[in-house]
């Protein structure tokens, strides 16, 4: 269910980045060892007065296992097992709804990089890339504007971030109607200029609407994080730049943006996940992947392969590919974040 996963994704790298962003950015995690969860294994005997890393704060030999049991059972059954099974199936040709399996090794993966499958992969990369860049860029700009001393920023912000409470399905329907060539308001305006674009029958236009809708949806979410980040910016580097005679734009580019890089990297991950996975509802509602497969991103292709073309093995391979891509991006983000913070801003 994309909701819980959005929550997971939002906090996924955030939790993990919390784990690795030390010192200035975090509040004390006791030993100052970045709160690396692996280190929890060593119970800390010294408990600080105010907050501490608790050792065995409570007694109970069986109790902790009981407390953990429901969680472990659920994640083993409904997360780990399906993940393993998906990985397993990706090496098979699955026929007749799973009744017959034929081992094919990496053939499914090879098939993903051939002809029309390759175009799905490329299309996903390009469209996701555009969505991420536009959504983050626009939110950064808006946050900078909201950070200026003008009146009404709170109302502006509220009116700008509210779409983060929407589902992509609802947004999809709204955009579907808004861009309808006959009765949609967009074309009403454009007709004044003499054009009446057929948004959902021309591939490139359909892609444009998809990108716009996805950016529109994620903008608010990004703005929330950037706004908070702006409020927490340390003042000295900015003041120093001012003293050095830097113009506002230079200050922004060379001081503010680098200072914001941890947030930017975090948003990069969450926006990519959003574009990869949450776009399903929007595609299904607006275009069903058409026209001529132009809005078929990988997540939609996985659905079609598994549930319409009965190519379960291929779909599993495609899902694995997306999984690997997301993990790679998370790792990249972690590495970059660590490096950024280590070498200072």
């Amino acid at each position: 269910m994309q909701p819980q996963q959005s929550a997971a994704r939002d906090s996924r790298s955030s939790a993990v980045s919390v784990a690795s962003v030390p010192v200035a950015a975090t509040r004390g995690h006791g030993n100052g060892d970045h709160g690396n969860p692996g280190r929890l294994r060593r119970p800390v005997r010294r408990a600080r007065a105010s907050s501490g890393r608790p050792g065995a704060a409570l007694n109970g030999r069986l109790l902790p296992y009981l407390l953990l049991a429901p969680t472990m059972v659920v994640i083993a059954t409904f997360l780990y097992y399906p993940m393993a099974r998906t990985a397993y199936l990706s090496f098979f040709d699955v026929a007749l709804l799973g009744r017959r399996l034929r081992f094919v090794g990496f053939d499914n993966f090879r098939e993903l990089f051939v002809a029309e499958n390759l175009s799905v992969v490329v299309r996903t990369a390009v469209i996701s890339g555009l969505v991420v860049v536009l959504a983050i860029g626009s939110a950064l700009g808006a946050a900078a504007l909201l950070n200026m001393k003008i009146r009404g920023t709170r109302i502006y912000r509220l009116l700008l971030i509210w779409p983060l409470a929407l589902s992509t399905a609802v947004a999809g329907v709204m955009f579907l109607m808004l861009f309808n060539p006959t009765f949609g308001s967009v074309n009403v305006v454009l007709r004044v200029f003499g054009v009446n674009p057929q948004w959902f029958t021309k591939p490139i236009l359909a892609q444009a609407v998809l990108i716009l809708a996805l950016v529109w949806m994620k903008f608010g979410y990004n703005l929330v994080f950037y706004s908070a980040a702006f409020q927490n910016l340390p003042q000295e580097p900015l003041d120093a730049a001012l003293v050095d005679g830097a113009s506002p734009w230079q200050r922004f580019r060379h001081v503010t943006v680098p200072l914001l890089s941890p947030v930017t990297l975090f948003l990069f991950v969450t926006n990519t996940s959003f574009a990869f996975f949450d776009s399903f509802a929007m595609i299904h509602v607006m275009t069903r992947g058409g026209p001529l497969d132009s809005t078929t991103l990988m997540i939609y292709d996985v659905y079609q392969n598994a549930f319409q073309f009965r190519r379960t093995g291929l779909a599993a391979a495609e899902a694995m590919l997306m999984f690997v891509a997301v993990v790679a991006i998370i790792l990249l983000q972690l590495r970059l974040t660590r490096r950024r913070v280590h070498y200072g801003s």
Partner: protein, 451 residues
């Protein structure tokens, strides 16, 4: 972080190995009997019917349960044949699996390959079912490698239903329905454009069976190797000229507004015809019972003719449609016998005759036809005989024997996807069929690799 990653990957790898080890793709445990509150054996019977046919099945099952000892049959509708097939495959090997399930004739090979069923020849040790008591044509289609796969039950041919009254009004001969494509077009022009007695001309259910039949009528099999009957098929014939003609015909009907487009299977054209929005409809003879009843109520005159051919040449015949009843795999001896007993009763001469009278499905039991003849049923209802007539007049060739291959579900999907593109996507028939051909071929070859 690295530690988390390493541990997580290790856990994942461990679970993949476990999953691989425990994976059973098709093992069915030796069955146990399911008993109801009275200790009777429960036999679940899944079929694909709604509406009037569903009613008939429910009444028949009730009748059987009333007189059967130690058995309770429970019928369940799965809406249509495709959903039914998917449901059985998914349920196979689990507690939710039925004992009996209908499988449409086209999926005979797929059913065999799925391992979810046992053939009648293998299962029927007590010889409860006698293959020679059924229509030869049907038994022939259901016999693979010398084994009778399933019990014939609900079989049909495609026919043309038409409104005699509207024909008269349009100046057409109500006793001579169109038999070739040019005749069909002429009739449509008369009905819709000239005398304007009907909003649309003809409905066609959104189903690949009609494409198959239009091709078979021109003696072009859907698959090579004699429609998959003289060896594993390797390619479909969707790139043939005939296939293109069929698609172009359908498109022509759409463009001329003779045909109301809908992807809702059989329901939509059935409704359109009974509401008099189309003057004709092709459909299965199994709709005869329904249409006859509806027309009688509305005091209209129903006409039934042979399925029209796709060209000016008359068709050489039609393929068999409908669904037989299969026994699922892994049943205990007692349950299996109970299921077979029910099947024998369901396809007995009396019940087969009743089923025919209510729907129009072929009287699959040879003696049933005799009963109907002796009752004079066909004299009073000559229209019901049309499909049987058509079947008897069919020249038996690989084309009219229907396709046999386990990839048929996917081939069917490819055909309808291509058709949709041609009708509303403005894709030329040749291109759409080429894609369908490629998709079908790769499905066929993939299934061939699974032994």
């Amino acid at each position: 972080m690295k530690r988390v990653l390493r541990a997580g990957v290790a856990a994942l790898a461990a679970s993949v190995v476990t999953v691989a080890g425990c994976s059973s793709d098709g093992d069915d445990d030796g069955g146990t009997d399911e008993l109801n509150a009275n200790g009777d054996i429960v036999v679940h019977f899944w079929h694909g019917y709604g509406g009037q046919r569903l009613e008939w099945v429910n009444q028949a099952v009730a009748k059987y349960n009333a007189q059967a000892k130690g058995v309770e049959v429970r019928a369940e509708s799965k809406t249509d044949y495709d959903k039914l097939f998917d449901a059985v495959l998914l349920a196979a090997g689990t507690k939710a699996a039925p004992e009996l399930a209908q499988v449409v004739v086209t999926y005979t090979s797929a059913a065999l390959k799925s391992g979810a069923f046992t053939t009648i020849s293998d299962a029927d040790t007590e010889k409860t079912i006698d293959p020679s008591s059924y229509m030869d044509a049907v038994v022939g289609q259901l016999t693979v490698d010398g084994k009778l796969t399933s019990v014939p039950w609900a079989h049909s041919g495609p026919v043309l239903f038409y409104d005699k009254g509207l024909f008269r009004k349009a100046g057409l001969d109500p006793e001579k329905p169109p038999a070739t494509w040019p005749e069909l077009l002429a009739a449509c022009e008369a009905l819709v454009k000239v005398s304007k007695v009907s909003e649309y001309c003809i409905g066609i259910p959104w189903h690949p069976w009609f494409v198959e039949n239009w091709m078979a009528g021109q003696d072009v099999p859907l698959l090579d190797h004699d429609n998959g009957r003289s060896g594993d098929a390797e390619r479909a014939a969707l790139d043939s000229e005939v296939a293109q003609t069929v698609f172009q015909n359908w498109k022509q009907l759409y463009d001329e507004h003779y045909y109301p487009y809908s992807t809702e299977g059989y329901d939509f054209p059935r409704q359109m015809f009974s509401e008099s929005k189309t003057a004709m409809t092709v459909s299965s003879i199994a709709d005869a019972g329904y249409f006859q009843g509806a027309f009688a109520e509305q005091k209209r005159e129903l006409g039934i003719g042979f399925f029209p051919s796709a060209s000016e040449k008359p068709a050489i015949g039609t393929t068999l449609g409908g669904a037989s009843v299969w026994l699922t795999a892994g049943l205990s001896p007692k349950t299996k016998q109970a299921a077979l007993d029910f099947l024998a009763w369901l396809t007995s001469p009396e019940m087969a005759a009743e089923w025919h009278k209510a729907t129009g499905y072929f009287p699959v039991n040879k003696k049933a036809e005799a009963i109907l003849q002796s009752e004079g049923w066909f004299e009073k209802n000559p229209a019901f005989y049309v499909a049987l007539d058509q079947l008897k007049e069919t020249k038996v060739t690989p084309a009219t024997s229907g396709p046999l291959h386990s990839a048929m579900p996917e081939v069917n999907d490819a055909i309808m996807k291509a058709l949709e593109q041609v009708l509303i996507g403005n894709v030329p028939a040749a291109d759409a069929l080429k894609s369908a051909q490629e998709a079908s071929n790769s499905s066929i070859l993939r299934m061939n690799k699974i032994k």
